[in-house]
Symmetry: C2
Subunit: 175 residues, 2 copies
Amino acid sequence: MSAVLHFGEMGSRWGFNRTVGQILALIVLNDKPISAQEIADSLSISRGNTSMGLKELQSWQLVKQHIVPGERKEFFVAAGDIWTLANRVLEERKKREIDPTLSLLRDLLLDTPSNKTDTEAQKKLNEIHDLLESVTRWSEELQRLGPDKLATLMKLGASVGKVLEFKDKLKPGHQ
Amino acid sequence: MSAVLHFGEMGSRWGFNRTVGQILALIVLNDKPISAQEIADSLSISRGNTSMGLKELQSWQLVKQHIVPGERKEFFVAAGDIWTLANRVLEERKKREIDPTLSLLRDLLLDTPSNKTDTEAQKKLNEIHDLLESVTRWSEELQRLGPDKLATLMKLGASVGKVLEFKDKLKPGHQ
DNA sequence: CTGAAGTTTCAGAAGTTACTGAAAGTTTAG
DNA sequence: CTAAACTTTCAGTAACTTCTGAAACTTCAG
C-alpha cells in the first residue's frame, strides 16, 4: 500500500522521521495487531531500527502494546482513533516547540529594556508571547472537548466567522 | 539578544533551518531595515549562507526587500505583523504538507478495495481525508478573517465550548 | 568601458541524523 | 538452570543537510 510510504514522508514533517512515520501508517492502517518482525519485513528495515521506531511512537503515545494470549511476541496497535492520534501529535508538538519558547519569552520580558531598540524588540516579543499563549489556551480547550465535539467544531468550519458575529451581538447582555 | 538564537532553534521546527530562523528573528525584532552584510556579521555566518536564507524567507513571503534611497545595498524588513507572519507560516506549511497528502488520499480512495483488509484500510484513509479537509476548510476561513478578527477569535479561546452550545441551540431556527 | 560595490551560485567540507547488524539483555518454557 | 525466542542497545557507517568561501554574475558611477 503506497499510502504507507507516503505517510512516511509526511511523518518526517510531523516531528518524527520517515521510518517512524511508515511504521505508524502500517499500524494505523492494519486493523489487526502487527508484530515488530512483520513491520521490519514489510518496510525492509532492520529489526533494530524498528525497535527504536516503536519506542518513539510509544513515547508519543500513538501506539500501544497489545498482548496476544499464547504468543510470545509483542504486537502493536494504534492508541486510538484518527482524531485522538492527531490530537496527540499536536499536543506533543506543542509541548516540544511552544512551551520552551513561551518560558524563554517570559524570561526575556522580565528584563527592563535599556534603549529604544530593545524597547521595540520587547514589544514584538510581547506580541509573540500573546500569540503563543492564545494557541496554548486553544489547545487546552480543544483537548477538553474530546474527539466527538472536536469533530463537530471542525466540521463547523466555514461558519466560524458567523459565530464571531453572534458573540459580538450577544456579548453586551452576556457575562 | 539571546531570543534570536533561540528562535533559530524554533525555526528549525517550523519548516526551515536554524540559520534561517535566526535571520528571521533578527529581521522581525529589528524595527530598522537591516542589510545582508549586517545579518551575516551579527550571526557570524557566511555571506553565501545569508543570501540563501534570505531567498528562502522571501519564498515563504515572511521577509521583503526594502530599498533605501541613495543606498546601493538591499535592506530587509518583515513582511507584516506577527499575526500575519504566523499565518503565512501556517499557510505555507499547509501547502507543503497537507495538500500533497490530500491529493494522494483522493487517488487512493478511487481504488475499489479488493479484500477485507483493504476495506478497513480505506475506512481509515477516509477518516484521515475528512480530518485534513476540515483542517483545510478552517485554514481558509481563518485566512479570510484577517489578523484583527483572528486575534479576537484566538483570545476568545476558553469559550469555544460555549460557542458550540450556542450553535446547537440556535441551529434549528438558523439556516 | 572599467572597476567598485554589491549579490548569487555552487562544489566540496563539516556537521547531523538515521540505519544496520552484531552483541548484550530479557523472558519464559521445559 | 538452560536454551530458545524474542527485544534492546549501541558502535560504526551511510545518507543527508547545512555551511563556507571562492568564482561568477549584476549593477551602477564615473
